[in-house]
Subunit: 198 residues, 2 copies
DNA sequence: TTGAAAAACGGAGGCACCCTCCGTATAATC
DNA sequence: GATTATACGGAGGGTGCCTCCGTTTTTCAA
């Protein structure tokens, strides 16, 4: 048994082709550009054009619109998850929660397309989005659990609830002044979830 | 002066043709059906088919997708506005606010397409949606103002803010258990907006 | 180096939808 | 009944979605 590359049990080891991975990168870059400009409903053919590739190539790499989204915004979602860990280590429970929520708003404001990524994470029907969804739910879940454990926050609102509120509030992020509005609302929400110390 | 129908200053008075108003009704009924089944992005050609009319007729009556939405859901939006008035007369300030918010959730849950109507009212870029938007903002605005005047609610969150939160939270209304989740969130939000009596 | 064979490419093609335009049909008025 | 404003319908040109398959490129073993 044992050849060189093709291992015994069908678990082939052939590396991905050069052109394939190069094109994958091009598609991701193009998608970022096009989605930023045209919103999440932008044409996939436009993405392929922007990448200088055929539409067939795009579909082979990313069979669904969602899978493309997922790939484009995976990194940003991961950053948010990391931020949660940092805050957990560095700030008191309620403040950490509040800051993380605020950071999300800033993300949406800054990184064009982040709203789409969040939305996707929260509503995505596909299996692929489970990754993002899980990551974020867990991130906020840890912050929440810590605050609950400290007796500072009500226990009847879960991570998924909070994520829903966050994403929803950011959903209408085109109106002027949306950012301040969402920050006020989030603060009020956290206040409402608070158990005052006595 | 005064003729019979055609008034002097170009403000013609010719009644709309029978077939025209009949077809308008058919289109509205069809739109309600199709949007309920297929969501707000459903095909306009499907609406025309459902109504047994040509696509041209649809476009003459409703030049944009939004104008059709507007017409379909105008009544439901008006009902919500009326409810606000009723509650204003019948319930104490904070309770009225809370109940109105809850009623909205029920609307979304019950009347398919109501979510789309709310969304449209809140984000619609068109002039036509101003009507719905105004109506709802004013409705919740009155409830809010009363509660603020009674010293029961913080003054830094406006009607538009609250509407944003409401619509946003209902936005992801497909997930299982969304309804309970939104109710919890709204309660917490109102709690957070409260000024405890002392 | 070379020559299969695996893997990837590209875009034509079929379908649906969007919206406009204008010849034809029909209701309202005289 | 004739006239004319009004409405109807759907063909047509454009775009996007996604699939399928003949062609091209890369890899790997001999």
């Amino acid at each position: 048994m044992s050849g060189h590359a093709p291992e015994h049990a069908g678990v082939t080891a052939r590396r991905p082709r050069r052109d394939a991975s190069r094109n994958r990168d091009r598609l991701l870059a193009a998608a970022k550009t096009v989605f930023s400009a045209g919103g999440p409903a932008a044409s996939l053919e436009a993405v392929a054009r922007e990448a200088g590739l055929g539409i067939g190539t795009l579909y082979r790499h990313f069979p669904t619109r969602e899978s493309l989204f997922e790939a484009v915004y995976r990194r940003e979602v991961e950053q948010l998850a990391e931020l949660a860990e940092t805050l957990e280590a560095e700030a008191p429970p309620v403040a950490a929660l509040r800051r993380w929520l605020h950071a999300n708003v800033e993300f949406v404001a800054t990184k064009k397309g982040m709203a789409a990524a969040l939305e996707l994470a929260a509503r995505g029907p596909s299996d692929l989005t489970a990754y993002s969804s899980d990551l974020l739910t867990r991130a906020v879940g840890r912050l929440l659990a810590r605050a609950v454990a400290a007796g500072a926050i009500r226990a009847d609102i879960g991570a998924a609830d909070l994520l829903r509120a966050l994403v929803g509030m950011c959903y209408l992020h085109d109106e002027p002044g949306w950012q301040a509005s969402v920050l006020r609302l989030l603060d009020a929400l956290v206040d409402g979830m608070r158990i005052p110390p006595r």
